[in-house]
Symmetry: C2
Subunit: 83 residues, 2 copies
Amino acid sequence: MAKVNVYVTLKPALLDAQGKVVQGALENLGFDSIESVRMGKFIEIEVNGGNGTLEQDVDEMCRKLLANPNIENYRYEIVKDGE
Amino acid sequence: MAKVNVYVTLKPALLDAQGKVVQGALENLGFDSIESVRMGKFIEIEVNGGNGTLEQDVDEMCRKLLANPNIENYRYEIVKDGE
């Protein structure tokens, strides 16, 4: 079994409204030296019987579903490779 | 400036409804060997003038705001330490 971690983040040029709200909330809690907060997604996928196309498959999953390529970047790492 | 990555994940014992929906959508796209999908949050925080208490501060941020300790686990890594 292969395990893949996918990280989806908003493109840096775009305003992260949710991150701004979290930053404000942290400042209200007394954390006043925060420069920025950006919220992204962390997706853990387990794939049965990893085959040779795992990396292409994951890239395709990201492009077709997990990330919105217009406004988001993604990266992934295969943390446990199947045999 | 310090940069911290925070990962918030649903506790393993709990059903991840959003992950199940994503898994179904991936299966509809033809990825039929997926064992599980779990959705988490990936939060990037930049802190000005990191001081000696950065690690405690980030832990407090997670406990007080970023994660719901009843149902979520969190971990963090300081990827760039302030001076």
